[in-house]
């Protein structure tokens, strides 16, 4: 089929929509690597040169990539590795070991993982044999025997690098950096972390052996660039099977980005954070409303998605409470106001509630103590209140001091939307007296 015919092919709308979903979900949810990482060209080049020198010349190196969460550190590394693997010399030679500080919580586990990934001689299939001491000696001997010009270089990628610095004695880090500074098998140690003060975590010996090469991924995105990025993320690629649909879709995306209300929403998100992850979550929510009946993203979609993202979690939870529990919360709020944040216990809250009942309640009446207790416990389970510090099991339940985990504004916001809230309760919330 000629290209022109393929472009003119018309798929049924359902097929188009499912294709759109597939492509965009891969981008948002599956961390698909972009064709070219944007905004990090200098770092990309630096890292690529570094790894290439290790792979080709056998020069040992170590580098730390530092950036806030969602800045694209892992994406940068993966894109560099993808670019390098297209060179045969690198692909044939470079051995890779990927470690993650959250998975390998201990040096022992990390060593087993390294041994397994390098498929050293004490590995059968996936099982590593030997004790911690043996694994360490084995690995160190293996690396020591290596040589700059004849051994395959090894790339160690340490994700969540700051967690490795919390292992005992920092043995693994010391040894890896020591190998990178000795005339042994060439290694490249790449650490990824989000802590800016990561060097302070390293012991002085480890720090001395680290080459102090750091790459910072600090984005300097402006709002127009942010809009451009959204447009790129939402656009369909050129090789979409139905060309006409793709054109319509891309045009709709462009109008969306230029829409006033949408821009306001996006500005709000941009002010909050500029990283990829939160952006992807927002766009994912918009995408999930796309269906055959509504085949494009409208500004209202964006507005709803934004409201969903930025909604207050606790305020939403308050909507599910019973009236009694809500009254208890309001009583706690008043106690906080009067006593300026001092912890309270059930008896105090109950007294406050009784005061309200005496004064002006028409709809509520007094409940038994066990029912109040149960309501209180429910609030504790929902973590809307938590025991104040130093609460021991010695005091009786009714007298244990608690603190409220909600803010004034959250309670008021929840009350406004609470379904069928009695008016006297609402009035009570606004002022304790009167």
């Amino acid at each position: 089929m000629s290209k022109r015919k393929a472009k003119d092919a018309h798929l049924p709308i359902g097929e188009c929509i499912s294709q759109v979903h597939q492509i965009l979900r891969k981008r948002f949810c599956h961390q698909q690597l972009p064709v070219k990482p944007e905004g990090v060209e200098a770092q990309h080049k630096h890292l690529a040169e570094l790894l290439k020198r290790t792979a080709v010349h056998g020069e040992s190196n170590s580098v730390l990539i530092v950036g806030p969460r969602g800045a694209g550190k892992t994406m940068l590394l993966r894109s560099v590795l993808r670019e390098l693997s297209q060179e045969t010399e690198v692909q044939k030679n470079l051995l890779q070991v990927h470690l993650n500080g959250l998975l390998q919580t201990d040096d022992r586990i990390a060593l087993k993982e390294i041994t397994r990934q390098l498929q050293l001689e004490n590995v059968v299939g996936d099982k590593v044999f030997g004790s911690f001491a043996e694994n360490l000696t084995f690995l160190l001997d293996a690396l020591k025997k290596g040589d700059r010009s004849s051994s395959r270089p090894v790339l160690f990628v340490l994700d969540e690098f700051d967690l490795f610095a919390q292992h005992k004695n920092q043995t693994l880090l010391y040894n890896l950096f020591d190998v990178s500074q000795s005339a042994q098998a060439p290694v490249a140690v790449v650490g990824l972390t989000c802590r800016l003060d990561v060097l302070e975590l390293l012991e002085k010996r480890v720090k001395s052996r680290f080459s102090h090469r750091q790459m910072y991924l600090l984005s300097k995105l402006t709002f127009p660039q942010y809009l451009e990025r959204i447009r790129d993320q939402l656009s369909l690629p050129d090789d979409f099977p139905d060309g006409k649909f793709a054109q319509e879709w891309n045009a709709a995306v462009t109008t969306l980005c230029e829409d006033k209300s949408a821009e306001e929403v996006l500005q709000r998100h941009f002010n909050s954070s500029t990283d990829f992850r939160s952006l992807h979550m927002l766009l994912m929510l918009c995408l999930s409303r796309v269906s055959v009946a509504r085949p494009s993203i409208t500004p209202t979609d964006l507005l709803d998605a934004s409201r969903f993202c930025l909604a207050d979690a606790n305020a939403n939870m308050l909507h599910g409470l019973s009236i009694l529990e809500l009254c208890l919360i309001i009583a706690m709020k008043h106690l906080n106001d009067v006593y300026e944040g001092e912890p309270f216990n059930l008896q105090m809250v109950h007294n406050e509630f009784k005061k309200f009942l005496q004064r002006k309640s028409n709809s509520m009446y007094n409940f038994e103590q066990p029912i109040i207790m149960k309501a209180f416990e429910h609030l504790q389970q929902l973590e809307l209140i938590r025991p104040a510090d130093g609460a021991s099991a010695k005091t009786q339940r009714e007298f244990q001091l608690m603190r409220l985990m909600l803010d004034h504004s959250q309670i008021m916001e929840a009350l406004q939307k609470y379904p069928q809230c009695p008016t006297d309760v609402k009035q009570w919330a606004t002022s304790a007296f009167a």
Partner: protein, 573 residues
């Protein structure tokens, strides 16, 4: 007895090879018996028991474990006479497959396996088993290894009587069998080789980079001649006299301690080859390269004699070795790197290390390296510190002239740097730490920058850029590139600190300020959840220090950057 065999108890204390005839029976090592070695021999004799078909599962289990042993049996081929038992051939298919795999691997590793040795392949299994058993003995501390082996055995061994032979009941002593000679377990761990050799440096800058790499240690270290001389004369005198002694070398990281000592030992070994001084043995251990201080014993033993043993056993053996006036004529020089990591609460390891040289017949010279000058006074108990003695040597951090000399001597007439660029680097590094590694790394980075900008020599601009990169503190840049809400939050934190007059505040208090600031800036006031997210992001980068986030709005926060820096960063745009 662990191995109460249901089979007729054929206690073979001697080597009764069932197949191999060229094995010398009764060859023993003079290793003293300990429960574990006894156990091992017991297991050996288990292997000697009845012929194939009896316990195929056990054999195969052993074989499988052995196959996973760390060492191939290459060097064991040389020591075949030490085999003390034949193994029957298992009839089970899986075991045959495994044994053929082992054979194949051995063939791969060592082409000189002749055909007549092929049939003896199966009999090398006991060696593997031995390896695995001494493997096992090493890590009695490793419970997981035991469980692992026990699990393997229980999985694989179906018959009941094999279960009795599982090694898990380590507590039950095995019958004292023949002493099995310890073989030299030469591991051949290795990283695979590359297809073609690495590319040589092409141009001058690449050559400079190769020479400036920290690993390219020169034959003779500049600026450490005096220290070299002192250590050399100390060790030489001890070797010539045939006595022992201790020396303590200290200095901040990167001052050339280990390199100097190794250079001394190289020269001495050269002199020993030339017969100028009596021969000696040089071994080195590193406190950071072991998982537990007691492993030091095992490592020293292995490097001295090639024996593998558990830490306790090794300690006993070394004690015996250094106490007895054996016919040993060679001095042993032991280099202990990162001494402070060998600290234990009772300081046994360090005590022994410094006590052995004081024995008359030990002839042990210990060179200990650490970072702190007053380590003996600070953390060593009196008796250990007194055994360490007063022979101390302190390596001072390099001055800028010395650093310059180091770099120049590395480059060795290679014209790659401008002089003032080099001087700038040396001065900067000398002012900060005097660490030679930093200096070399910065110079290397400067050559990379220069190469990228395609200039000729490495000049001041490149060096300053490298210094900037490697010495920079990213906080100001991070604040500048934070989002609007994050910057407002930082401002709110400072405002709240000012209001309270403290250096800490709760999130709730800061949120009030934050919402006020939002109104001032004309932005929509931020909700609690959004505020918490902003706060959490700042805490992840460590611009703020937070309490655990389960405290929600009640968590306290502190600034990790000084207030002036924050204001400076926020002002500059």
């Amino acid at each position: 007895m662990a191995a109460s065999l249901s089979l007729p108890p054929r206690i073979t204390h001697s080597l009764t090879p069932l197949r191999r005839t060229n094995r010398k029976p009764g060859r023993r090592d003079d290793v003293p018996l300990t429960p574990r070695s006894a156990r091992r021999r017991e297991s050996q004799s288990e292997m000697d028991s009845p012929p194939a078909g009896d316990d195929p599962s056990r054999t195969s289990s052993r074989r499988k474990e052995i196959q996973t042993g760390t060492e191939p049996v290459l060097e064991v081929l040389d020591e075949e006479e030490e085999e003390n038992g034949a193994l029957r051939v298992s009839r089970r298919k899986s075991a045959l497959k495994v044994s053929s795999r082992i054979r194949k691997q051995l063939n791969l590793l060592d082409g000189r396996l002749s055909s007549d040795e092929d049939e003896e392949e199966e009999e090398f299994v006991p060696s593997r088993k031995e390896l695995q058993s001494s493997d096992e003995e090493e890590d009695d501390d490793e419970g997981d290894e035991d469980e692992e082996l026990a699990a393997k055995k229980s999985r694989r061994s179906s018959s009941s009587h094999t279960k009795q032979k599982t090694r898990t009941p380590r507590k039950t002593p095995r019958k004292a069998g023949p002493i099995t000679p310890r073989r030299h377990r030469h591991a051949t761990p290795s990283i695979p080789n590359r297809a073609q050799p690495a590319r040589r440096p092409g141009n001058i800058l690449e050559e400079a980079r190769a020479r400036l790499h920290v690993s390219a240690v020169p034959e003779s270290l500049p600026c450490r001649e005096q220290e070299f001389q002192d250590i050399y004369s100390f060790v030489e005198s001890k070797v010539l006299d045939g006595t022992g002694g201790c020396m303590y070398v200290s200095g901040v990281p990167g001052t050339g301690k280990t390199a100097t000592v190794q250079e001394v030992m190289r020269c001495l070994q050269h002199a020993a080859e030339q017969d100028e001084i009596p021969p000696f043995v040089f071994i080195q251990i590193n406190g950071m390269k072991m998982t537990d201080p007691h492993q030091a014993y095992a490592q020293i033993l292995q490097k001295l004699t090639g024996q593998k043993a558990t830490a306790d056993h090794a300690a006993a053996l070394l004690e015996k070795r250094f106490s007895n006036p054996a016919s040993r004529k060679e001095t042993t020089v032991l280099l202990v790197d990162e001494l402070d990591l060998l600290w234990t609460r009772k300081q046994n390891v360090m005590y022994n290390l410094f006590d052995w040289p004081t024995r008359r017949h030990a002839r042990l010279v210990v060179l200990a390296i650490a970072n702190t000058m007053d380590l003996p006074e600070r953390i060593l108990i009196n008796r250990v510190a007194s055994r360490l003695g007063l022979t101390r040597m302190s390596f001072q951090p390099y001055s800028f002239k010395q650093l310059q000399q180091i770099v120049t001597s590395r480059l060795n007439k290679l014209k790659a740097f401008e002089d003032d660029a080099l001087q700038l680097v040396s001065r900067k590094v000398a002012a900060l730490s005097g660490d030679a590694r930093r200096c070399l790394d910065i110079c290397r980075r400067a050559t990379e920058i220069c190469e990228r900008s395609a200039a000729g020599l490495v000049g001041m601009s490149h060096v300053m850029q490298a210094l900037d990169e490697m010495f920079s503190s990213p906080y100001v840049a991070a604040i500048r590139s934070a989002s609007t809400q994050e910057q407002l939050f930082l401002r709110a934190v400072i405002a709240e600190f000012r209001r309270l007059g403290l250096e800490e505040a709760t999130f709730q208090q800061v949120l009030v300020q934050h919402q006020a600031l939002c109104r001032v800036e004309g932005l929509q006031p931020v909700g609690v959840s959004e505020g918490l997210a902003v706060c959490r992001r700042l805490g992840a980068c460590r611009l703020l220090l937070l309490e655990p986030s389960r405290l929600g709005v009640l968590q306290r926060l502190w600034l990790n950057v000084s207030q002036d820096d924050v204001l400076f960063a926020l002002k500059a745009d």
